[in-house]
Symmetry: C2
Subunit: 224 residues, 2 copies
């Protein structure tokens, strides 16, 4: 298996049956004992850096692959691949989200038998990705401190569909009037079962606790 970046073109096809495709994909991945994680956030919230930190924390025990959605570049996939991680680039050609069939196409380019976990880096967008089930076992969103603590009020669906909220760039907290308590309250009002972790993907702070949660979820889903 090579770590070269592969480029797959995906075209916009709105599948009325996306939910069915997602359900089937989840079942197939279950049979292969592969855990699929869908990571969503605004542009620049730190998805790629968070993926790298998370994999660094867990790669001694789990084998990771990454699906990189990007509108028009390969920079993120190349950054992942530079760390010796299998990465597939899904070029969306302007499309603002991924759906389950696009994810299935990307997964077909990975050797799933060799992978325990595949992380999808979705398109940087707090709106559209929240509307499409990708077939993932868990949805994780990042909100970075510079974006502000009011985002649950403005992008409620993203908070509603995400199992985990990673509050990233906590090293910026001192510089801003970001109210962590208010953010958590707003997020939990929308989604009382949401797991919330505070991290700095830059310094590594807090990543261990989030990674430990992920490891437990993966083990409980795929065994081992």
């Amino acid at each position: 298996m090579t770590n070269e970046v592969r480029l797959i073109e995906v075209k916009e096809e709105i599948h009325a049956d996306n939910d069915r495709v997602a359900r089937d994909l989840r079942a197939q991945l279950g049979e292969k004992h592969t855990f699929l994680l869908n990571l969503m956030s605004s542009p620049g919230a730190g998805k790629t850096q968070t993926i790298l930190r998370t994999i660094e924390e867990l790669r001694s025990g789990l084998h990771f692959g990454v699906l990189e959605a990007d509108i028009d570049s390969k920079v993120d996939a190349e950054r992942i691949a530079a760390h010796g991680i299998s990465a597939v680039q899904l070029r969306t050609g302007g499309l603002c989200h991924l759906d389950a069939s696009m994810v299935a196409k990307g997964l077909a380019a990975l050797d799933l038998d060799a992978l325990d976990v595949v992380i999808i880096e979705n398109v940087g967008n707090l709106v559209c990705p929240a509307e499409f089930d990708t077939g993932a076992n868990k949805n994780v969103m990042i909100l970075s401190v510079p974006e502000g603590d009011d985002k649950p009020l403005k992008y409620p669906l993203m908070f509603t569909v995400s199992d985990v909220l990673l509050v990233n760039k906590i090293d910026y907290l001192g510089l801003s009037d970001f109210d962590l308590g208010a953010l958590k309250q707003r997020a939990l009002r929308l989604n009382p079962r949401m797991q919330i972790f505070e991290i700095s993907a830059k310094t590594g702070e807090g990543v261990a606790a989030w990674a430990a949660w992920l490891q437990r979820e993966v083990r409980s889903a795929i065994g081992g």
Copy 2:
């Protein structure tokens, strides 16, 4: 004219003829001597604060109104209205962008004869809003420093369609590895005529230069 927030529901209607609607709207606004500015950015890049700073700088000579697009809240429109500025809330109900007909609906709720400039705060999204001509005279985008200097590589259409790039949160420059020179080079490669201003909407730094540019554009478009 009241400064209360009005709430208008807009439903998703994909207009094949959006370009025609936008062109007609621009012509109508020209007759009314009203300048329309379309402000776009990621969530949390500082659109509302930038609008407030810009209006503060120019309101002694120009009358402003604001159209606030928001998926599901009125917080931004209420913040604008609290400063005595006419604000209309366009609730998009999950839609990821505004098009010209939605903007026309919002403008109909403002007293355009009393306004020189209307600023549209578009949905927080670097993808979809770039695809729709809103009828604005100028498109302005904000990129905030914490989002990173690689965004022109990933969201090229937004940089291509914007007349102005406001690099916001320059008070964060010291905390990050953001390369302002690289950002400008990438942006200008996509759009050589792009005007670039560095601002901090929080501290007010740099806002005067951007506001002076806007004032000149408004005067040249509507006279006076």
